[in-house]
């Protein structure tokens, strides 16, 4: 089913919108959530919360890109669930990727530091394959093995690309006066 048709189902308050969403994007959302939340039970609960949240938001929201909208919502839902309940176990790859960010993660940037714009500008400077690897690791929290399989790069190459990109990001932010 086309995304436009799924959105129309939401607008007509047809509950089959949820099954259509699950059928087309359930696996993708589940994977994102599962990378952040370790437990299958928590992940399923989070996915159900996500579908309810989407049902409540569309309408009035009309996503430009339903897939991206669902991915962002799934990521936010899982992270929000973690924040609300610190007793929940974090996903392994999420944990490792946070450790990799090291000193960058320790820094508390001021809310008005335009950090989001700086990061988007930085991503714009990267070569597409490098950017894809970086986003798959730190946005989707994919494992090195998964990134290697999907990108065609060897695992050591992926690690090296990530290491260099993190260093470039640190340098980029420092040059723009961000104190780390």
């Amino acid at each position: 089913m086309e995304d436009r048709e799924i959105i129309n189902l939401y607008f007509s308050r047809d509950e089959s919108a949820i099954s259509a969403t699950d059928s087309k994007y359930g696996a993708l959302c589940r994977k994102i959530i599962k990378n952040i939340l370790s437990s299958d039970h928590d992940a399923e609960e989070c996915l159900n919360d996500l579908y309810l949240s989407i049902w409540n938001k569309i309408p009035p929201t009309v996503p430009d890109n339903l897939r991206n909208y669902l991915c962002k919502s799934a990521r936010n839902a899982a992270l929000s669930m973690l924040r609300k309940n610190s007793a929940l176990k974090r996903g392994r790859e999420y944990e490792i990727s946070l450790e990799e960010l090291g000193e960058l993660l320790q820094t508390d940037f001021p809310p008005d530091s335009a950090l989001e714009e700086e990061i988007n500008a930085f991503l714009g400077l990267l070569e597409p394959p490098t950017r894809r690897v970086f986003v798959r690791r730190y946005w989707f929290f994919d494992s090195i093995k998964e990134i290697s399989a999907s990108s065609g790069f060897g695992e050591s190459k992926v690690k090296q690309m990530l290491k260099r990109t993190r260093e470039k990001l640190r340098k980029y932010l420092t040059e723009r006066g961000v104190k780390l």
Binding site: L105, R164, K171
Partner: protein
């Protein structure tokens, strides 16, 4: 705000790019045949080239201690190691007195390849000037009988200039290789 929060708000364009398939080489039959033919031509061409120019066929890994027995390595590698670079993998030596080593900047920002060889090994390549080749930049330092090639895997003139100026003082002596 944490950087992880900022990373969560990346532009849709980058998200779509990451969700899309990674570019992979096409695997059409004709492409495979063409690739096979190209490999064959390359193999024959390489064999002729190696025979004509008497270039080394392969590098044999040697230990750091063994490498240090060669004068230029003994002088230059410790300097590289102490100047922000770490040896990446093994040092290689060919049967034709060519020594090659790969380094990574300690801050992970770049990779550096250094090759010591007799002057004839590098053929007619222009010496003592920075050469850009794609995303790399190189410098062939001419020491008369010997040449040292420094190759950075980023185009960074300043860094490359710093490297070859620093290590020019550790020039290989005649017959050291």
């Amino acid at each position: 705000m944490k950087i992880s929060d900022a990373l969560g708000n990346i532009d849709d364009i980058y998200l779509s790019e990451a969700l899309g398939p990674a570019p992979r080489p096409k695997s059409h039959r004709s492409f495979k045949i063409a690739a096979l033919a190209a490999c064959l031509v390359l193999a024959i061409g390489s064999a002729i080239f190696l025979r004509l120019f008497n270039a080394p066929e392969k590098f044999t890994p040697i230990s750091y201690e063994e490498a240090c027995e060669y004068k230029p390595c003994a002088e230059i590698i410790p300097m590289l190691l102490s100047d922000g670079y770490t040896l990446d993998g093994e040092i290689g030596i060919s049967g034709k007195n060519v020594i090659s080593a790969e380094f990574s900047a300690n801050d992970g920002s770049t990779g550096l390849s250094v090759t010591f060889a007799d002057s004839s090994y590098f053929g007619d390549v222009i010496r003592n000037i920075i050469i850009i080749e794609g995303n790399t930049c190189r410098y062939y330092a001419d020491f008369g009988d010997s040449v040292v090639m420094y190759s950075l895997d980023t185009v960074d003139f300043t860094e490359l200039e710093k490297i070859y100026r620093t290590f020019a003082t550790a020039r290989p002596e005649k017959g050291a290789l």
